[in-house]
């Protein structure tokens, strides 16, 4: 089986390529023109250099391909930049896929596409998707629209689509996650220190995505990709501070207090500036909720359909993440 991986040189993409190689897949890695090719890919991975935002001939990327794993997305920059990197790039990529014979598509989305304000005690695949998207940040807007575009193309062209929605993907060099709060100088503000984190270690996440490629029952399904929900903000932040040797103080702030301040700021902004008002993400109540809301997360559907269990437990994930610091 030959798999095309977009965003192949990204944090998650590289791990997916690694695991596909270990399982004997033939791989075409789509990477940006100026990106350097990882040494471990030499003679093992076919490289297709293209920037999805502008590359003229994307159709040839699909020649001889059986399945596509689409991880390419913008993760930084303003709204326009992230929309171009995630949505317009995907639109152009899928326009090319329409002109190919490829039908199998695994799209890597995110938990940010859900309407967190409507998640009650637990968030699972039945939680409604975000509908008031323009109150959210650039990343959420782009990911919601990216998933919309993918779903529409798949429906129109009868593709075999699986959507994977990871939580906070973490691992080596990427241990600082938004859910653990913010660091101001030497102070870590932990919003809801006992909140459970939807963690997805990069090794586990890639393993789960490769499992979806191999599972016919995954076709037409969406999955929330989390290792579990046992780890809470306090523990994660403590491990992070300890293992990165960063000094500082933890200042726990109850979730409801933080949300109350954010709601007050949002109401004030709306009263004075209407819809035009712009607030930092910590003071925009809907954005605050999507980062820190204390709900439970389930990977039950992954277990039932993909028969998947995370290969690494939390201790092994910590060792894998911080091994270069020992």
């Amino acid at each position: 089986m030959r798999v095309l991986v977009t965003g192949a040189n990204g944090f998650l993409g590289r791990q997916i390529v690694k695991q596909l190689l270990e399982r004997g897949y033939s791989i075409r890695a789509l990477i940006r023109p100026t990106t350097s090719e990882p040494a471990e890919w030499r003679d093992k991975v076919e490289i297709f250099r293209a920037d999805l935002r502008v590359h003229a001939d994307l159709v040839s990327a699909f020649e001889g391909i059986d399945a596509v794993i689409h991880t390419a997305a913008g993760t930084s920059g303003g709204e326009d930049s992230q929309f171009a990197s995630s949505v317009i790039a995907t639109e152009r990529f899928l326009d090319a896929m329409v002109r190919s014979s490829v039908k199998r598509l695994i799209h890597v989305s995110s938990l940010v596409v859900y309407d967190w304000s409507r998640a009650k005690r637990a968030m699972d695949e039945s939680t409604p998707l975000e509908s008031d998207i323009y109150v959210m940040g650039p990343y959420a807007i782009a990911k919601v629209w990216q998933e919309r575009v993918v779903s529409r193309y798949a429906a129109a062209h009868h593709w075999d689509l699986t959507i994977m929605r990871p939580g906070f993907i973490w691992g080596p060099q990427h241990a600082a996650i938004a859910g653990m709060g913010r660091k101001f100088g030497r102070i870590y503000l932990l919003f809801g220190p006992m909140t459970r984190l939807p963690l997805s270690h990069v090794v586990n996440c890639a393993d789960c995505i490769v499992a979806a490629v191999e599972c016919p029952r995954a076709i037409g399904e969406s999955f929330n990709v989390v290792d579990g929900d046992d780890i809470r903000v306090w523990r994660y932040a403590r491990e992070y501070a300890k293992r990165t040797s960063q000094g500082g103080f933890f200042l726990p702030i109850p979730y409801r207090l933080g949300l109350g301040i954010a709601k007050l700021a949002s109401m004030t902004s709306k009263a004075f500036f209407g819809k035009k008002g712009r607030l930092p993400s910590l003071l925009a109540s809907r954005r605050f909720e999507s980062q820190f809301k204390p709900v439970r997360f389930s990977n039950q559907k992954l277990k039932e359909i993909l028969k998947w269990n995370p290969p690494l437990d939390f201790e092994s994930c910590l060792d894998s993440t911080y091994s270069d610091r020992k």
Binding site: V54, G77, E79, D80, F83, Y134, F273
Partner: protein, 351 residues
Amino acid sequence: MKKLKGVIIGCGAIAREHLTALADLNNVEVVALCDLSAARAEATSERFGIGKYYTSYQTLLNEVHPDLVHITTPPSSHFPIANACLSAGLNVICEKPITVEYNDFCILRDLAAKNQNMLMENQQLRFHSSVLRIRDLISTGELGEVVDVQIFVAVHGAAGSSYADRNAPHFSLSLRGGMIGDFLPHIAYLMHIFVGPVSDLRTVWSKRIVDSPLPADEFRAIVIGAHATGDVTFSGNAQPGGFWLKVIGTRMQAEANLFELPRLTFRRFRAGEPAVMSLIDGIVESKDALKGTVASFLKKLGGVGSYDGMTEMMARTYRAIEMKEPQPISLEEIDEVARLVDCFTRPEYKL
């Protein structure tokens, strides 16, 4: 009251600024927009509650008959779109620069004049509250006669900026001067406002980061105007970023950062004991800076951003259409600005 109809062609970042400004005008309704990306067109229409969206501007022009077309695409596409609009007898407001080449502008200018249509360039900094205030000080005589105008622009153009993205080349690379060319219209019309028609100039273009894809990342110019001199410094390397305008008069100096909202400071001639006057100067300047900083912060929270002047520009443009008055910036002045931009990039003016 019947509203004037506007349409937007091109739904990138600058289109959002047009739409935000137009939302403040109660005599205007944006009835349709267009973008090559269907997703971006739909997202923009959803966000701003606009009824129709298209992926072809020709189809839009065939189906909708607007009072004004906003062209907010990258510069290399301005000419064919503006040409199609003016040929169809439509009024146009185009993002700066109207055209990549001055000769193309001349074709549009003549077409607009022949058809008696509006051809406007977005020169929103002309209506920035700080610029309007400085112009007031000049017209009331408080600033005295303008002696010199200094413009200093610092924009991050090094590796990591969108201007230097080698994977998806920035649209400004289609302009002579690249990233700097994208800012030259702002510099040119501000110079024209304060120093008058330009009789001579000299420029220095250089590249501090040699392996950058930009044709240049540093630019200097000296301008001789009818009323005063001007000098320009553009740096793609200096930090922090900003767009500073300093107008030096015979009685007063006024300085503003046009990327900020009304952050304007003054230095006046004061008769009296120099040490005491210096202390008073410092206190007054600090007060002005603090007042401007707080006002700027509040305006940012209010979503105004660095596009102060856009709403005023749009309001005057639509008012001119409604009242059948001359366009708020005359074609002759837009022509002079376009010629100055052209001169900034011509080799014969390089030192």
